[in-house]
Symmetry: C2
Subunit: 333 residues, 2 copies
């Protein structure tokens, strides 16, 4: 009897909610920083179709998985990936403990401020820098390093904290998707432990919905206290072919919507598009050299070349930042 | 104005919810299959303390992460892990395509029904069986194999489908934790893709909240369609030291409550207990040879030896299944 009574109360509440909250949500514009151009219309049309009971494209709430790349899709990635700028600052901070770095590449060039020369060694140089700055401490210690850096470091062009270099239209889109029953995930080539420090506060995405590249960690008991120690070994690279793999291993079901900005996201969009039923794939195209940066087919960071061709061939949505976004960063408002 | 109006509607709804739904939830017994012995009281006391605003032990809803082992904690694991029984059935089904298995261990013994001899080869034999039965197909195909098996296979002792061999008190506990704002995760040594097929339907735990052992997969485009192919290589073993590692990599924050039944769960419970603030660790002790099975320090499956000592030393909660559970399986009711 009690249970039945409770169910009917819940039914009344849901009914009231349908009359009030949901109704006013629909009445107001959830994407005010988007111009009324094709991408906004495509997003709204997709969300309406998959959330409408009885629609042939209806997707049950449990299956509404939306995945978002981070660098270049949710926040900026120029003049280089922000996590790499964190690593550079760590190299400087650690240099006094590593006198040998003065003679040893890629560190010697980095310490002279010559990033181009430092990265001439390609991926092995990059891996050396990541390992030297991201391993050899506990997970709690690393967490604190990132937290401290984010609270003090400033972007070299705008002078803003990195966590303000996020795209206002994408913040609105994340909230809009969630308000429509979507579970929003980050699926990024960036380090998962780096992103998890700010994802909840900045994007409203909790740590357990962040997928990224990982390093190996080892469980140890130190002085009677359990710790996880970050090892100098990369475990998983969540980029290109790795993105659908990461989605499978970490989420375990195929997304119905995917958002990216580079060729590194192409396989994630293909995997999403390949499912049955309604699907939505969107590329953010960096076209605004004045308010942000303009780059695509030739860029070493965030190259969008094959992805742009495939988006055009398949009719995926492409956001032209200059034309489609009223505001880019929250601080412009 | 519209937003303010909406907020006030939501406030009214929350207030009504507090008066009705939540109130009746508290009034009824959420754990009816638990006797009124110490474990039930410990669970209720913990949940009350961490959910009460202003309590010194209060934990914000976002941080209410609870992790549950699967085999022996949420469902039975005797006479052997159910996933291994699935593998045995696969070996039989695949045998006609593998005439060489008649002469080759561990398959030859398996096909003769001599599991003990087959497993005399230890872990390498086990890995061979898993790889022969779990790799070489797409993730969608594997998913379907598990689905078909679960819908037809029967437990050798009870004759019940495996998905009915779940513990009624633990189903109630999962629902009770979730009703109190906890996010419930499985953290199991079992294969993640095996568990994800039934976790949502049986436990109310969605695929993205299931952590387990993983095999490598590769992204491919086949006939223009993207697929993920299961490779004959183990990627991650989510057992013992691997459990806190898996929790870190997949969830990214430390649980406040952990539930297990064997030494394989000890590090997960240690990692959970090692955080600051209120923590809850519980072991299910298999003590009921009549209604279920009785095993602990000497068992080859689900051995509970070091874990039992540590639970006693640290005052963790230990469920004596015979004494503390009114009902074990849902079909007893």
């Amino acid at each position: 009897m009690k249970i039945r009574k409770r169910v009917s109360h819940i039914a009344i509440l849901l009914f009231l909610a349908a009359l009030t909250g949901f109704h006013s949500a629909a009445a107001q514009d959830a994407l005010p920083s988007w111009n009324d151009t094709a991408p906004k219309k495509a997003i709204e049309s997709f969300v309406t179709r998959v959330t409408k009971q009885g629609s042939p494209d209806f997707v049950p709430a449990d299956e509404r998985i939306a995945v978002f790349d981070n660098d270049g899709t949710l926040w900026a990635e120029q003049p280089m990936y922000f996590q790499f700028l964190f690593a550079l600052d760590r190299v400087k901070a650690l240099a006094p403990q590593h006198p040998e770095w003065k003679e040893k590449e890629p560190f010697a060039s980095l310490l002279k401020g010559d990033i181009k020369a430092a990265l001439a060694g390609g991926e092995p140089a990059m891996v050396q820098i990541v390992i030297a700055t991201h391993a050899g401490m506990t997970t709690d210690e690393f967490d604190q390093l990132v937290r401290d850096w984010l609270s003090t470091a400033k972007h070299p062009k705008t002078g803003r904290p990195y966590t303000e270099m996020v795209y206002q239209p994408m913040l609105e889109l994340l909230a809009y998707m969630r308000a429509n029953g979507f579970k929003t995930f980050i699926v990024s080539g960036g380090g998962v432990d780096f992103m998890r420090v700010f994802s909840e506060r900045v994007y409203g995405i909790p740590p357990e919905q962040v997928i990224g590249s990982t390093g190996k960690v080892r469980f140890e008991i130190r002085d009677g206290k359990p710790v996880l120690v970050r090892l100098p070994e990369i475990q998983f690279v969540d980029d290109k072919d790795g993105k659908p793999v990461g989605i499978h291993q970490f989420i375990g079901r195929r997304p119905v919507a995917a958002f990216g900005n580079s060729d590194g996201d192409l396989q994630m969009l293909q995997w999403t598009a390949g499912g049955s039923g309604a699907r939505f794939c969107l590329y953010v195209h960096h076209t605004d050299a004045v308010r942000e940066w303009a780059y695509d087919r030739q860029s070493s960071i965030g190259r969008l070349d094959k992805g742009l061709d495939e988006a055009n061939a398949r009719g995926w949505t492409v956001v032209n930042m200059k034309k489609d976004w009223k505001v880019i960063f929250p601080f412009e408002k």
